[in-house]
Amino acid sequence: MKTNLALRTLYQFARPVTAPIFGVLLLAVSSCTAPLEMKEASRLPLYSEVQRSPQGALAVVYQGFGIKAVGELIAVDDKRVYLLSPYSSSSGPRTAPTLTRIKRSEIEKMQVIFAQNNTVPLRRLATASYVSVFFHLFSAFVTAPVNLLWINGTLAHDLGEYRMEVSVSESARFARFPQGLPEGQTWETLRNQL
């Protein structure tokens, strides 16, 4: 009887907080998995404009032990991958970019993100959904967290980037200079011109 009572009491206590805890956990998980390169990916051209963009893709280079380099893929040669960070759009303001070299042998895996989706309609719908919750009166206690969870689940991760995992060799065609470093240019000469 006591065990039954204990379980029942525990259940009574836990039930009201189950849903919120679950929601917070999901939010936390989805937030945790949001990649660090999200901010830079937001400067990528839209998927409908990327064909006209003269820039390289945003590269995410994993070097093992949790080390990750993010930046515009400038070029790939026999020995190294060149990244320019932070990523800056061709028309936007630029802040002291840094050209870095990473040895190919040190690269564990690589991803390229070469465009982003147009998130304006999604954000407008999300805003409209949030606003509509105010009209739910008392039931907003239920619908508000559902909205939060749903919208966060839909939008939080990466807003629909065009992302591919590629080998280092394959990544070259997504670089600003897919042919490799331009003739007559070295890392030293190039770093001051970008």
Binding site: A19, N118, T119, L122, L137, V146
Partner: protein, 574 residues
């Protein structure tokens, strides 16, 4: 609340689906192609030879290289020059073989990808790599679908809450005997008719039959609505049962033991045979929508029982498991809405004056117009239906199990015919049975004792209120336990009682104060309220279309808007 896990599951599935489309970039792999020289480019695009003759025509990729669903837009050409510049041909381009040039409308970007200026041709020899790009499809279709579904649901919920707000959840004190605290499984709801302190009364509800040990039973007591519950007394009546025996609660406030039930042969209503709906207490309830012309319109249900095994002497009782529909819920919210800001004033006046009228009272007003489940039996000798009495218990949540003793009469040709008259759409019937009342039962009283925590410790939140009632059954409000919205606690009962199979009946005494809502104030209409009180028959005809407009939605809205542990939600029925 019970739907929240479904919402979460759906959200998780959508989340998973939307993420799936992102990392799998396989379909994007051919979006960009590179050509080391112009010969490779020509090999890929043989039709470029013809383009030379019609340079104004737009260039297109071969359809075989395009995804079937994609438009054949411009294959943007980028010419990566040996000096690091890039020419982006954005509109048209072609190969001028005579001069070994790529010609077209291009933009020249420097090493740093700043715009240098427009350019209309470039020598093949200056190009170290050509690159073509095809249009990318949008990958947000699933996200858009997900957001659209949510938005549509939000708008629909908003519309429902504004138009059917009287459907919002409410309950009197709810009591749960088992682990389930889902309101759909509430075992009892207490004193539903006591809307004022002066209207407090003791309500007895059948809780169920359980194996009781150590003479101790625990109940979960909850306030799940925007109401103030004042519980002045709680008792359990326990009747120990032998094998094959059941205990029944009479409408005459007596208890009976029954060891025999006469088989139900046939049950009919306006829609036809309803036997399977009322044969057993299985949660499948017989209910028919209300009339669109008059909420008080009556319907008749007929029942025929096989009485061949009845000895003809032992008293019989009609046992019915029933509860109300949402008609009274709707009417109660309407009444409060009509009073608008005068609601509290009306309550105070009604409390002071014995002449004040409760519009939903069963004795007066709409309650009388709607009526209860009025029972009649067929007297074969006089060839007429004879009125016996009525079942009536307010509340749409917990199913009531009551037995109405029948007067002595004889069966005809081994059959007993009964019929019920009731307001169409106002009642839900789970079971109708004819029980043999073998003997009257004397229940043992189990009294409340301080609840304890699961480890036997002293009461503490949320197991009990911070200040447990010292004398929970003392008369008068001063000794009452006041439960505000969101209150949940265990109440233990104890008594000198043998272990074993036991029928339990809860006697709850008290009253509750229904809270009005800001949004209801706009319904203020004292004329309507006066109609409700003084011309209920007329009012029930007038309001019928309004109720019918929301009737279908009320069931869903009622349950879905209910809160289990938080006081923010809605309210109640009468």
């Amino acid at each position: 609340m019970r739907r929240i896990p479904n919402f979460l599951a759906l959200s998780a599935i959508l989340l998973a689906c939307t993420q799936c489309t992102i990392t799998n970039g396989g379909y994007l792999s051919d979006f960009k192609k590179s050509y080391a020289n112009v010969d490779e480019l020509k090999k890929e695009y043989p039709q470029l030879e013809t383009k030379r003759a019609t340079p104004s025509a737009k260039n297109t990729q071969p359809r075989s290289l395009m995804q079937a669903a994609q438009p054949t837009g411009s294959p943007y050409l980028k010419a990566h020059l040996k000096n690091g510049h890039v020419l982006v041909f954005t509109e048209s381009w072609w190969l001028d073989e005579e001069r070994s040039l790529v010609r077209g409308s291009a933009l020249n970007y420097g090493l740093d990808r700043r715009l240098v200026g427009p350019q209309d041709s470039v020598a093949w020899a200056d190009v170290s790599l050509f690159e073509t790009n095809r249009p990318l499809p949008s990958n947000s279709a699933l996200r858009m679908a997900s957001m659209t579904v949510l938005f549509v649901a939000d708008v629909a919920q908003g519309i429902i809450c504004f138009t059917v707000e009287k459907a919002c959840f409410g309950s009197c004190p709810t009591f749960y005997l088992d682990d389930s605290t889902d309101v759909r499984g509430a075992d009892a709801e207490g004193f539903s008719n006591a809307l004022l302190p002066s209207a407090a009364y003791a309500d007895v509800d059948y809780l169920g039959t359980r194996e009781v040990k150590n003479g101790t039973v625990s109940l979960t007591v909850k306030n799940e609505a925007l109401e103030t519950h004042v519980i002045q007394g709680l008792h359990l009546h326990a009747i120990s049962l032998a094998a094959g025996e059941c205990a029944l609660q009479g409408t005459n406030k007596r208890f009976y033991r029954s060891r025999q039930e006469l088989p139900l042969q046939r049950a009919t209503a306006q829609e036809g045979d309803i036997t399977e709906w009322v044969l057993a207490r299985d949660g499948r309830e017989r209910w028919h929508p209300a009339s669109a012309a008059n909420l008080a319109q009556k319907e008749v249900l007929e029942f025929t029982f096989d009485a061949r095994q009845w000895d003809g002497l032992t008293p019989l009782g009609v046992s019915v498991d029933f509860r109300q529909s949402f008609v009274t819920t709707f009417l109660m919210y309407s009444a409060i809405g009509y009073l608008g800001t005068d609601y509290a004033h009306y309550l105070a006046r009604a409390e002071r004056s014995p002449r004040a009228v409760n519009p939903l009272s069963f004795e007066t007003g709409i309650g009388r117009a709607l009526g209860g489940l009025e029972l009649e039996y067929w007297n074969n000798q006089t060839q007429e239906w004879v009125y016996v009495d009525r079942f009536h218990e307010t509340g749409p949540i917990a199913v009531n199990a009551q037995t109405l003793p029948l007067p002595a009469f004889a069966a005809h040709k081994g059959e007993i015919r009964l019929r019920m008259r009731a307001a169409q759409g106002s009642w839900r019937l789970d079971r109708v049975a004819l029980s043999v009342l073998n003997e009257e039962a004397s229940p043992i009283l189990l009294t409340p004792v301080p609840s304890v925590g699961p480890d036997g410790s002293a009461p503490s939140l949320p197991h009990a209120l911070a200040q447990p009632l010292a004398k929970p059954n003392a008369p008068g409000a001063a000794a009452a336990r006041v439960n505000l919205p969101g209150t949940t606690y265990l109440q233990t009962f104890s008594g000198d009682f043998p272990s074993g199979r036991t029928a339990l009946f809860l006697e709850s005494e008290g009253y509750y104060l229904e809270w009005s809502r800001q949004s209801w104030l706009s319904y203020r209409d004292l004329n309507k309220f006066a109609q409700m009180v003084y011309r209920p028959e007329h009012y029930l005809k007038q309001v019928a279309p309004e109720f019918k407009a929301v009737e279908a939605a009320m069931e869903e809205v009622f349950w879905s808007t209910k809160q289990y542990s938080n006081p923010l939600n809605l309210s109640h029925e009468n």
